[in-house]
Amino acid sequence: MSSYFLRIEKASLNDLDGIILFIEESTKKLEVSSAVTKDVVLATLEAVTNILTHGYKDKPGWVEIVIQRNGKSLIVCFRDLAETFDPTQKPTPDISLPLDQRPIGGLGVHLIRNFVDEVIHQVPSQGGNELICIKKDIFP
């Protein structure tokens, strides 16, 4: 089945609008519902923002996004060559606390978990990170 690839050699936050377009176009070709597209866009924004701001510390860096159907699931995969970091181990923030008792930020990983069904972190052979996000049972 079809996979859609986007590779940006020197990605920065300015590329996020283009990345959103890429996700919207590939999910359209995969005939995914608009609700799922929205979830995938939102997860993508967080995953890529974390790569760029934390992984590459706001310097331009190599990012690859792969989106594909796998049986009944949709898989979106984010790859970088930054230092290895496993975000799946982050504890869930307490979102019931008043804002002035919360630290600023710390919500990106929480949002990813909320928008997709499973998040897997892997270290590719060449190092860096691969974050695999799975939306389950969305295809007939």
């Binding site: 936050l13 996020l16 609008d17 959103i20 929205k38 866009v41 939102l42 924004l45 967080e46 923002t49 979102i95 019931s96 606390l97 008043p98 804002l99 002035d100 919360r102 600023i104 930020g105 919500l107 990106g108 929480h110 949002l111 909320n114 928008f115």
Partner: protein, 128 residues
């Protein structure tokens, strides 16, 4: 992302930030809020009607602006009680017409509990 500023007069002076495009960075919003705040305006309505998507960078900006304006709240009995009960809504920062994607991000982060969401522009200005 583009931010256009305008000023409305209700019971108080309200600075309206009209954002166009995806909010994927906190920097622009925070800078503009700081300028307006330093110029003496402590009430901001964020018009999100033309924002397709907002990431957690937007949440960071909201949190920052919320805290910036917080110092100017009139801390009457009702406010204090609200804070204690966790039912406090900011009187200084309010949102106008976020779409359903943006609303979902606000809810997932638990920010909808602290920020009023308006869908009628005149009522929004009058509510400050």
């Amino acid at each position: 992302m583009e931010i256009n500023l305008s000023q409305e007069q209700g019971k108080v002076s309200v600075s309206v930030f009209k954002v166009k495009g995806n909010i994927t960075s906190e920097v622009g919003l925070q800078e503009k809020a700081k300028e307006v705040h330093d110029a003496g305006i402590h009430h901001i309505l964020l018009d999100l009607s033309e924002v397709p998507y907002m990431s957690s960078a937007g949440l960071r900006a909201l949190h920052y602006i919320f805290s910036l304006l917080r110092a100017h709240e009139e801390s009457d009995q009702a406010t204090k009680a609200g804070i204690a009960a966790g039912t406090y809504l900011s009187a200084n920062l309010k949102l106008y017409k976020p779409n359903k994607h943006v609303t979902e991000v606000l809810k997932t982060a638990g920010y909808d509990m602290f920020l009023e969401i308006h869908t009628d522009y005149k009522k929004a200005i009058a509510s400050f």
